[in-house]
Symmetry: D3
Subunit: 131 residues, 6 copies
Amino acid sequence: MPKPKAINYEQASDAVKAVFDDIKSSRNLEDVNNFWKYLANDEKTLRRTWESVREVMAPGAIDPLVKELIYIAVSITNNCSYCIASHSAAAAKAGMTEEQFNELVAVVGMANETNRLVNGYRIPIDPAFEK
Amino acid sequence: MPKPKAINYEQASDAVKAVFDDIKSSRNLEDVNNFWKYLANDEKTLRRTWESVREVMAPGAIDPLVKELIYIAVSITNNCSYCIASHSAAAAKAGMTEEQFNELVAVVGMANETNRLVNGYRIPIDPAFEK
Amino acid sequence: MPKPKAINYEQASDAVKAVFDDIKSSRNLEDVNNFWKYLANDEKTLRRTWESVREVMAPGAIDPLVKELIYIAVSITNNCSYCIASHSAAAAKAGMTEEQFNELVAVVGMANETNRLVNGYRIPIDPAFEK
Amino acid sequence: MPKPKAINYEQASDAVKAVFDDIKSSRNLEDVNNFWKYLANDEKTLRRTWESVREVMAPGAIDPLVKELIYIAVSITNNCSYCIASHSAAAAKAGMTEEQFNELVAVVGMANETNRLVNGYRIPIDPAFEK
Amino acid sequence: MPKPKAINYEQASDAVKAVFDDIKSSRNLEDVNNFWKYLANDEKTLRRTWESVREVMAPGAIDPLVKELIYIAVSITNNCSYCIASHSAAAAKAGMTEEQFNELVAVVGMANETNRLVNGYRIPIDPAFEK
Amino acid sequence: MPKPKAINYEQASDAVKAVFDDIKSSRNLEDVNNFWKYLANDEKTLRRTWESVREVMAPGAIDPLVKELIYIAVSITNNCSYCIASHSAAAAKAGMTEEQFNELVAVVGMANETNRLVNGYRIPIDPAFEK
């Protein structure tokens, strides 16, 4: 199988173009980024992912910047370079400062460490946490 | 090797007691939770972890509740039940609402999904993200 | 330590050459790929891995193409780029279509998401699943 | 925060009941399993996840049983017990034999091993895989 | 599918019994542990895994106790409770002290933390490491 | 946000220079490697990580070379290329032979495989391991 390729606007089917247009107008962008261009290899995945991301990342009980920080935290834990880069860009646009980024990385590192201290010592859940 | 056991205050060395006292007074608790009681199997790990957690989780550019949300995000990604339970309790104490918890889980799920869409399509980083 | 290097046929010991020859004739290849050339740094790992892969990936109750899809699913989850590339190539050779690859990525993404929804809500196993 | 709880049909909002009814009729079940009852803590996550799972797991270029095998492969890799149990049940319903399950576990084990051999030897992608 | 079950010696096929006998005599045990009894659901996986484990864990350039420590390190990172328990038992038998176990957990925790600091800051490999 | 950058000695604050000097003299190096130069983006993370690494990796009940092997084992499992490269270099400096590296990779691969066999068969912990 050849390596997957980006689908650019010009080559895209009408269904893909419609999603691209929606992303560009919702986010006020001149072009969509590679993530969407590669998902466009499968119209269904593209449309479903865009609808889900739009719903999940919308302002709600947690503000959009914090949602971006959470996204980066997961991406650092999973070592997804693209995801760290793209959501760092999105977070910066939403107002993340360099100090916030640094503290985020520190918390993610610490959580990954203490997760393993818990595993290593096979620590049982305190009954108080279950109430 | 027998399964690791909790070290309770009464059995603890003076060095361990000193850390336990510091945790209890800093966090206004009657007793430390299992995490600290198991780390007490190694005085050095206990002391170093407490000093690090206290520094990393202190109010700073990111507020403490958001830091707890990030901690939970990592713990859900790594499937650490104890960590999810203990940091959900800490987050609730810091003001997390049920709506916020639900949105957090949704974002973490979505990030884990899109991380794999990126891996699957081997998506290259957009040059704009690197500037 | 210098970065590990590929062992090419010409430089290889007789024991390594014998495994390379077996791989080439079993799979009808002109040369083995980098995976085997790097494993050749350790004759025992090379031989054991080849014997295991040959046995595990052979036609059985699950057909070879489906086994390749499963291999890719694990490799996407673990973010192993080499493994995604090599098993995508193997799957394509075994008949995987582009539509199948796209659906595979969609299922893997979804499974990684719902795994975390389960972790986040700490969902207990339904008794019916255990019977 | 109290431990998340299942939302049963009787307690559910009308919106949740509507999703539950759809799951039950689509899958011909008397009751939904715990996964859906816990997701019901967040109507939006419940609805979105159900719509996505239904679309992704539908018959397509890959048949539904193979999709279940892929789901189990990801869940074994991530060590999600609930997910392994529930998708093993679903796979069995879709026709998975015990021999197929055994081969699946063997392939998943092998893929997780060779993923790490690749990481350890830092193996570069063969140019032939990129064409 | 019913939950997988242990295959005890009495119920086992002759081929499985032969592997069980070999494990018991090689390791001087009265009975094999659950790991082998569950693998016995698939004779091929049982035999292949036993042959591989015996070869990989044998004394060599790295001594058997250190190999057990490495096994535990991987198992803590992956959060495999069974594996942590069984290899802690094996390590204790091979001479691991409580102090060594504690230091092991500390190193594993630290490595998991610094792995994420590296991911977060997207640190490029120093040219000196590649020579 | 621009991609994080290395902080070189000349640009560093006095506090960062002090940590760099301590690393260089403790480890007898002419310059610190990229890991420390990137952590220097956050003085607190730099100092805390250096103090923790120094304490955790010091000779103790486990010798420093074995600690490096454990570090590599975790990094291979997590697929952190930088970490594999830097700790392979450190291990080589501490005396790791090529044979030891090869055996290490073999053990890590095997542990990642058997961890998944355990997950797949949902193997319960033998009571003997808990005593």
